[in-house]
Amino acid sequence: MKRLAGIAMLLALAAVCGATTVIPLSVEQLTADADEVVEARAVRSWSAWNPQRTIIYTFTDFNVTSRLKGASPDVITVKQMGGHADGLIQTIAGLRYFQDGEEALLFLRRSAMNDGTRVIVGLMQGNFRVWTARTGHRMASNGVPHVNAVEGSQVRTYGGTSLELDAIEARVRKAVR
């Protein structure tokens, strides 16, 4: 039964319930909510205060290698709340930050602050780490091998760890059409 749920998840839902309290989003929903969907490699991260010195943000520069939706420039900056600056650590439980060299498939919106940065759709749900499996297949996972989904008052557990990158790309392209 658990496997059936896992298969269903792979077909219908690539989602995550990581930090805080979230409702899972499908690849199609992530695509619809995103201004840009890109494959990219992290090249540099740093943390800094906002001008009011009330929020620490972590910024990561990415070299864009492929564009599935939108017309991103070659280099984009992704902004996430939280980070480490001046002896203080700000945290949102469950948020995953990027490491230099990491490859990712990113579902992005332009920041509402109009500062030229991008933010990840669904807080962390639009952040898919990309790697090459032992089989040689390119895989992508939004960081959570299994999914806890809040659907109304029901909590469902989905199996399934990751998706082949080709499969996600196809679903994104179909959703964009």
Binding site: G6, A19, T21, I23, I55, P145, N148
Partner: protein
């Protein structure tokens, strides 16, 4: 998927050494929020001996808040289970209300609870119900003034916590409601767990389990987390008043297994805590050398289980845990074992 992983790792031998201890070397039981420091990971917690902690509500709401109960009453009812945990002293009270309506304007002197803050970029995503942004000191800040009173006395000391409810989400203050509406008190109770310094728990019955299970009453696992942070001995002497079980999870080669979920489950019907606290397993996560300690255990008989963090909760749900130890995510290719 778990079956597949288990089959691949069938040859792996998991050795679990568990011993019932009542004065064991303390470490983290449950899963507190951790911050890396030169002296090792430090749990995030308020310094209640030196600081009066209050939350500051902006009472402004919009039409996304439904129901007859006020958001203030919901927050009072949501803090109450945490501040009344047995064996712990967690005095967090309602402070002055505030008109601060953005996270950017939330200064270090307040702990904002906001229903209209739109400058958290997640607010355009209705899939994120709420976030808690905590600010903790690292070791370099010890000795500096704390904007909320006194000086910073230890690494990991919480200095500020804000809870931002997504203004794009419909919440009901009276109780459960039909999707996409969310019951406010269940979300608030979970977020307050982060406010007091807890991360997510792998125990599904816990309020701090990452998925919203509709619970507004704490489970034994939540209580153990608070007792660890705010019990009579604090984290440094976490086994002072309740029981502890410690041991090591090893693989077939004898190496310690990092980031395994280890939990103790009662084998009796004993109800140690009064209703509405719900009986549940009490869990911990192993350190890089495979050692673990489960604290906050009432006197009882337990079965101890070690399992990989391969779902329903995974390492990403406690994404700060491995970096706090300077580690990457632990393995999940081992089988569940009970002792």
């Amino acid at each position: 998927m778990r079956s597949t992983v288990a089959a691949l790792a069938a040859s792996a031998l998991l050795l679990l050494a568990a011993a019932l201890l009542f004065h064991a070397t303390p470490a983290q039981s449950y899963v507190p929020s951790l911050s890396a420091s030169a002296s090792g990971p430090q749990p995030s917690r308020w310094n209640l001996a030196a600081q009066s902690v209050q939350w500051n509500l902006n009472k402004t709401i919009k039409t996304n808040i439904q129901g007859t109960r006020s958001v203030e009453q919901v927050m009072l009812d949501s803090f109450a289970p945490w501040t009344s945990v047995p064996n712990a002293s967690l005095a967090i009270t309602e402070g002055a209300t505030t008109t601060v309506s953005s996270e950017a304007a939330s200064t270090a002197t307040i702990n904002l609870i906001c229903f209209v803050c739109t400058d958290a970029d997640f607010s355009k995503d209705s899939s994120t119900l709420a976030v808690t942004l905590t600010t903790a000191a690292d070791a370099s800040s010890v000795g500096r003034p704390n904007p909320q009173g006194g000086t910073i006395q230890f690494a990991g000391q919480l200095m500020k916590a804000d809870i931002i409810f997504n203004p794009s989400v419909t919440f009901n203050t009276d109780g459960p409601c039909a999707s996409p509406c969310q019951e406010l008190q269940t979300v608030a109770t979970h977020e307050i767990g982060h406010f007091v310094g807890l991360s997510h728990s792998p125990v599904m019955r816990a309020v701090m389990f990452p998925a919203n299970g509709g619970a507004t009453a704490l489970a034994y696992d939540d209580v153990a987390g608070v007792d660890y942070l705010y019990g009579p001995g604090g984290p440094a002497n976490a086994c002072a008043s309740l029981g502890c079980i410690s041991g090591t999870v090893r693989n077939g080669l004898g190496a310690g297994v990092f980031e395994a979920h280890v939990f103790a489950e009662s084998t009796t019907a004993l109800q140690f805590y009064p209703s509405p606290i719900r009986k549940s397993p009490i869990g911990s996560v192993t350190r890089p050398d495979g050692t673990y300690i489960i604290t906050g255990l009432p006197a009882d008989s337990y079965v101890v289980t070690a399992e990989p963090l391969d779902g329903p909760m995974t390492a990403s749900d406690i994404s700060a845990y491995a970096p706090a130890y300077g580690q990457t995510t632990g393995p999940t290719n081992f089988t569940t074992r009970q002792h």
